[in-house]
């Protein structure tokens, strides 16, 4: 045991020497909140589904969110007129590569690859960067090819840096942020005489958008909620079936245990 602990501690220490990844906010999502999922579906269709496909997802599956066929057809169907179609986009991958530099990934299961927290933080971490091709950069995904599509809603953010002498101070200020933050650690040589090695990077809203920060956060929450649901539309059913199966198994557990004990009574 001791050897294990020592080895793990050794490994952990060396791992920390590099640049810290961004701290992800926990996404306050709930895949059973149908109203949130419906709002998220609308945002997804309006804002994402122009460049990103969700090619493994059928419009018809949206009926699971408590919508009628008529509602889906009138409000959510832009790329096709058949509800049995997949959520594809008109843009070909080849065109996308030419226009955007890289083809936007399909989003059907992106929530399972990235995780809801990553998506939630990512969508709230764009900032203005005059050096990038799109004019935008992102705290979570540096030099991402995607521009900030929702900027008219969120307003424009800029990145700020503050220097600290120790990690605890920097982290304390970071934790008060409503948006993503990260801390870059300089070596003592790079830091210079003042010894301020810990650079806290945060973003600040410079010009407001049409939504307040809270409204924007809620909008992103709903969007991420929908994307998480979409990554596995059967997840609610899965858990419901799970409870029934567990119940049956618990009954079987008692029965098979009693059977086993009954047979083994005469083994000494």
């Amino acid at each position: 045991m001791k050897a294990l602990v020592v080895l793990l501690a050794l490994a952990a220490q060396l791992a920390l020497a590099a640049e810290e990844p961004v701290r992800l906010d926990s996404a306050p999502i709930d895949p059973r909140d149908v109203a949130s999922l419906q709002t998220g579906a609308r945002s997804f269709v309006n804002y994402c589904l122009n460049c990103h496909s969700a090619g493994m997802m059928r419009y018809h599956k949206l009926l699971d969110l408590g919508l009628t066929e008529q509602q889906v057809k009138e409000n959510l169907l832009f790329t096709t007129d058949k509800i049995g179609e997949l959520m594809n986009v008109a843009m070909t991958r080849k065109d996308a590569k030419e226009w955007l530099g890289t083809a936007p990934p399909d989003l059907s299961v992106i929530a399972r690859a990235r995780g809801p927290d990553w998506l939630y933080t990512y969508m709230r971490s764009f900032y203005r960067d005059p050096e990038s091709a799109t004019g935008w950069n992102n705290m979570v995904f540096e030099h991402v090819a995607m521009p900030h599509v929702l900027w008219t809603l969120s307003g424009q953010q800029v990145q700020e840096e503050r220097k600290f002498k120790n990690m605890e101070q920097a982290e304390a200020v970071g934790r008060q942020q409503k948006n993503a933050w990260k801390i870059d650690v300089l070596t003592p040589d790079q830091a210079g005489k003042d010894g301020e090695r810990f650079i806290l990077k945060t973003i600040r809203t410079e010009t407001a958008g049409s939504l307040s920060q809270i409204e924007y956060d809620i909008m992103v929450r709903d969007l991420v909620n929908f994307m998480t649901w979409m990554s596995e539309p059967n997840q609610i059913t899965r858990k419901q079936v799970g409870y029934v199966v567990m119940l049956v198994l618990l009954v079987l557990l008692v029965l098979t245990y009693l059977l086993y004990k009954e047979f083994w009574k005469d083994v000494h």
Binding site: M1, A3, L4, L7, L8, L10, A11, Q13, L14, A15, G55, M56, M57, R58, K61, P105, D106, S108, V109, I110, R112, A113, R114, G115, S231, E232, P233, N234, R238, K239, V241, G242, Y243, V245, M246, L249, L250, L252, L253, T256, Y257, L259, Y260, F263, W264, V267, H268
Partner: protein, 466 residues
């Protein structure tokens, strides 16, 4: 003629006639008795003895769910990823079938690892069960191949790059390596051709071998009889009248009911994963594998699924420095130890020559080659366990402190190597993996000596009650 001589089957109520009819044309009752009602198993099996039957149970789950998955899966680079999602979303209950299969893969390894550990605890591989053990290790090898081929099929980023890394290992073999790697892939990179052939291996070739080996494993088991936690032979003490082992009980019904209970406990654990945490936090289904395979985008961090990570760690631990400062001196020291222990001059000569050849290879060939050799050795070494263990007793219950310490260390490094294999490489982690690798091999290579000098307790005459 023979038909008339056989006794009629009794005790099956309305089925007596049917069973008699079959039995006169097929060794039905004989098989039933030989392998179930008159197969005597020791009465003192403990918790560890559940995992053999559980492994068999998972094999059945994998075959049945696998059949249904193939009905909708498309082994085509352009369609594979989407066809898996099609199963997850649109095939009725497809998600259940798929999660059972993906969870089953991991739990298969858990069962097999625990089953093997049981054998190591109680010396189940010792004479006369060497061949039984060898069949078991062959099953383990087949299982690894099965898992490796199967993991490519979802065609995610980890599927793709995992296969790329492993096939590239063959590249390291001197002379034939590069051509061999192309031959395995059927292409210069992992591609549609690779996916198709891996599919064929996964659904036909390896399962056939696996099933045949399981039959051989069970036949060998029933020939020599099961071992037990005391490591004593129940056949040595028989009832003089009936000729049955005094400490044995018929497998059926005693162990069939006990194993049924075990299966239900297993199903509860299995269902908890399947229904409530099917990706097991990224260990059973890796996050990156939800990104479709992209031959142009190498992921920053490639890790195999957890059950391969101990061996993957050994592969990565084998750096130039490791070969020079640990492996080469290790070969010299081990050769000297062998020469010192061997009496025959011809054997001594052979050891010396082998060591010199190995040393020349170590100093001249690339470290990558030795990484592959060490990784292969770390698995193959299990074959030799029956001959490495020279302890006078079989069970850990009567073994001495050296063996107990060695086995504990082995388990610890197995977990540490497993953990390190899931993480990205840093200097500290490589060092830890190198220490782990050294301990892993010392456990096996020094076993003939430490198992012999260890102070063991006397074995009992008969099995002790639980």
């Amino acid at each position: 003629m023979a038909a008339a001589e056989k006794q009629a089957v009794t005790g099956a109520g309305p089925f007596n006639d049917l069973l008699t009819w079959i039995d006169q044309r097929f060794p039905l009752m004989e098989t039933w008795r030989k392998h179930l009602t008159e197969y005597y198993a020791p009465k003192n099996f403990n918790f560890w003895y559940y995992f053999g039957s559980l492994a068999l149970f998972v094999l059945v789950i994998q075959i049945v769910t696998g059949i249904f998955l193939t009905m909708n899966y498309k082994p085509d680079a352009a369609q594979a990823f989407a066809s898996v999602e099609y199963i997850m979303r649109e095939v009725p209950w497809g998600w259940w079938i798929r999660y059972m299969h993906s969870t089953g893969a991991s739990l298969f390894f858990i069962c097999v690892y625990l089953h093997m550990f049981r054998a190591m605890l109680y010396g189940s591989y010792r004479r006369p069960r060497e061949l039984l053990w060898i069949f078991g290790v062959l099953i383990f090898l087949c299982l690894m191949a099965e898992a490796f081929f199967g993991y490519l099929l979802p065609w995610g980023q980890m599927s793709y790059w995992g296969a790329q890394v492993i096939v590239n290992l063959f590249d390291a073999i001197p002379v034939i390596g590069p051509d061999l790697a192309i031959w395995i892939r059927g292409d210069f990179v992992v591609s549609d051709a690779t996916l198709n052939r891996f599919f064929a291996y996964h659904v036909i070739a390896v399962p056939l071998a696996l099933l045949a080996l399981v039959v051989a494993h069970l036949l060998a088991l029933h020939e020599v009889g099961s071992s037990n936690p005391d490591g004593v032979e129940i056949k040595n003490v028989k009832d003089p009248k009936t000729g049955r082992p005094l400490d044995g009980i018929p497998f059926h019904p005693y162990y069939t009911v006990k194993d049924t209970f075990g299966v239900v406990v297993f199903l509860i654990v299995f269902s908890m994963v399947v229904f409530f945490a099917p990706d097991a936090g990224g260990y059973f289904l890796e996050h990156n594998n939800f990104i479709p395979a992209d031959p142009l985008k190498t992921p920053a961090h490639i890790a195999p699924v957890w059950y391969f990570t101990p061996y993957y760690s050994i592969l990565r631990a084998t750096t130039d420095d490791f070969v020079l400062w640990v492996l080469a001196p290790g070969v010299v020291a081990f050769a000297l130890l062998l020469i010192w222990s061997m009496k025959k001059n011809s054997t001594r000569m052979t050891v010396g020559v082998t060591a010199i050849v190995l040393l020349a290879g170590l100093l001249n060939l690339d470290a990558k080659v030795w990484g592959v050799v060490l990784m292969a050795t770390s698995v193959m070494i299990f074959f030799f366990l029956p001959w490495l263990d020279r302890s006078p007793v079989k069970s850990i219950r009567y073994k001495g402190p050296i063996t107990k310490t060695a086995l504990t260390l082995f388990v610890i490094v197995f977990f540490v190597l497993g953990y390190l294999g899931t993480e990205s490489v840093t200097e500290g982690r490589t060092l830890a993996a190198q220490i782990g690798t050294a301990v892993y091999f010392l456990f096996f290579f020094l076993m003939p000596w430490y198992s012999k000098i260890d102070k063991c307790l006397p074995e009992p005459e008969r099995v002790t009650s639980k």
